[in-house]
Symmetry: C2
Amino acid sequence: MSDKKAKKTKIIEPRVLKGFRDSLPAQEIPKRKIINKLETLFSTHGFVPIDTPALEYTEVLLGKGGGETDKQIFSFQDNGKREVALRFDLTVPFARFLAAHYNEVALPFKRYHINKVWRGEKPQKGRFREFYQCDFDIVGADNAEADFEILSMMNTSFSKLGIQNYTFCVAHRGLFNAFLKHLDVIDESGEILRCVDKLRKIGEEEVKKQLVDITGSSEKADSILSYITKIDGESFLETVERLSALAGNEIEHSQRIKDIYSYLLASGIESHFTFDPSITRGLDYYTGIVYETFLDDLPSFGSVCSGGRYNNLASLYTKQELPGVGSSIGLDRLLSALEELDNNVIGTSSSSDVVVFNEDAKTYAYGNKIAAALREQGLRVDHYLIKKKLNQQFKYAETNQIPFGIIIRENDEENNTFTLKNLNTRNNEDNLKVEDAVKLIKQGI
Amino acid sequence: MSDKKAKKTKIIEPRVLKGFRDSLPAQEIPKRKIINKLETLFSTHGFVPIDTPALEYTEVLLGKGGGETDKQIFSFQDNGKREVALRFDLTVPFARFLAAHYNEVALPFKRYHINKVWRGEKPQKGRFREFYQCDFDIVGADNAEADFEILSMMNTSFSKLGIQNYTFCVAHRGLFNAFLKHLDVIDESGEILRCVDKLRKIGEEEVKKQLVDITGSSEKADSILSYITKIDGESFLETVERLSALAGNEIEHSQRIKDIYSYLLASGIESHFTFDPSITRGLDYYTGIVYETFLDDLPSFGSVCSGGRYNNLASLYTKQELPGVGSSIGLDRLLSALEELDNNVIGTSSSSDVVVFNEDAKTYAYGNKIAAALREQGLRVDHYLIKKKLNQQFKYAETNQIPFGIIIRENDEENNTFTLKNLNTRNNEDNLKVEDAVKLIKQGI
């Protein structure tokens, strides 16, 4: 369209779809910080990044789907009449990826994947249709070492993100299934675990009622309730021993849990872990340990990181057996939580450490030189682009949460100096050299 | 579905849609490196990150669209019967973002946006339907300083990515329009610039033929051809003076170009810039400088970074005037180019600097401690998870391009030592402490 037509075009309302949102710098700066921290963490621990298409064949994505997934997936017909959908999580695409690239990766394969997923669920407070997930998994090792390494990565992640108080609630689906078998209700295991998974949401009484319906026995319902009830004061290993007895002196799974726990002890991080038999995770594919993560200071916030061991995940796409264990952090939800907690790692959304003000076209090139020199010293430096009154430039710094400004005065260029202004205290330091300014800015003085 | 049903399910072929692809670690590791380098660069230069939804109302995205965009956009009807589409570029969503959040940002607004876009174009070698773009723009400053800052960021980006030989070809659409007006063919400007834009593709003869058709005059076609032809040996400023004369001694735009050039000179980066009047960029919305970037060592590769000044981009969504200037790097294409150039910044796709081997469950916890200590020293450390023969563990290291391995021998734990193996030379250093190993690994010995 030509300029003439453009002027006649009626204004289009700049709206976004329901459940979608723009990410402004105030949200995006801390989000990038978290993502960069996690990326550094994974890549220093032998985990490698992958990515998969946002859009896939609906049939491929829904392979494992139950009714819930079907309803929530964003699916369409493309111009070639193909049924396609946006990925719903990063787990199913990973299973498909493994089946497709089995011969191109070395096992055990440790991968992380941080990217967007889409869900058609009804938008509500804190729940959006587009959000970031951060998944990390180890495939090709069905042992306590792999289980431990995922738990340890979870702990390192939370610790490096500057979160103080968090609890990893661990349980074991193999042990739970052994118990259900011992109780002779294993055929109802799917219904039972989905019912138990709702304990925190619907309460014990309602769970009991549903369990009676499912098992047809008040006694069995009581047994299940007793199994899933955490006893205050009981230690991690005491709980495992008690549950193992309830499961008919089950050995294999309880030994695995004990081995994992011995590694947690050896690395001194055991205090963050508790065995909580009410954790079952609704999804069918888990076969070993499962876990959810709660922030002690935001108990009503729900789990911010969860996962478990799945030994048959890729079986829809390949006959190759690929045992895996992994975890998923809901990044956008974690970010909201960190904001509520005034977390010091995400800190402010300050765009820069210092801004070079601009009062005179003649000194603009000199301002560029100062900016470049400060950047060489590791500072984040903005340069204001328009010759405006200083007060208006101060306002720009304020909106962008920039704590320092640089003013160039007469003779500064020939002396290779400048004035540093602390924009909080409004204090000026005149005739500074770059190295002096760097010290003051880094000290926040 | 229950486990029983899962076993009966027939295998689903793990295929992806035509034009889409998985990103394996060998591709994703260098891509993350480039993205992280660019993010660091932007955030140290006062640019802030934003994000917008992948999916938007088709009507909003196609607002500015010509026929080409309409054909290539991935559009669907969602379950609520809304016409929706995947974003085609990061420019249109940015214009919509600006109109929506005008009051929430401080001008001049410097933003970067690195994320995926989708196009339905026919897949061909090196062209995919899903790819990453990296856009950076300055909105709210229509002056030489803003134009210069974008050009300077382009130069810093290429230089920090370790690219040696590159040329930014700059032209000016305002000057070109002044010339077309002087030639009395301004009403055909749209057709003319799209024709001229194809010069590299279809050659001078065909361009001439089309220009005669458009202008109805062989003389005018020759004038235009003469304007867009770069003269060997002519300097940047000489070209600008000559074109300004051809445009009837045009002053305003040529002065802007001279001011920009003076800043390029002052910062000592002018040698990477050439004034090339054949650069017009096909899109209608450009109003000032425009540019494309070519890699001198891969001349046939086409432009890897392009953009320009647009003073009315957001006018579809708001009456607010928002002059902008920006640039866009095609990240996936740049990555292919860097691979062809054996670029040393992306380097190898090595997953880790060193891997701790695992021969004995008894020393697994000790291995964890060594790994943690090495990570404290800034190394990327993997820990092999399965007790297997060392030869098989060496193979794992080789696939992941890990140059060093750590072997734990008898008595190592009590002495707090280990053996470091250089996996290229197969040389062993026994009884090492962490600090000795760090030195050897960092030196690559």
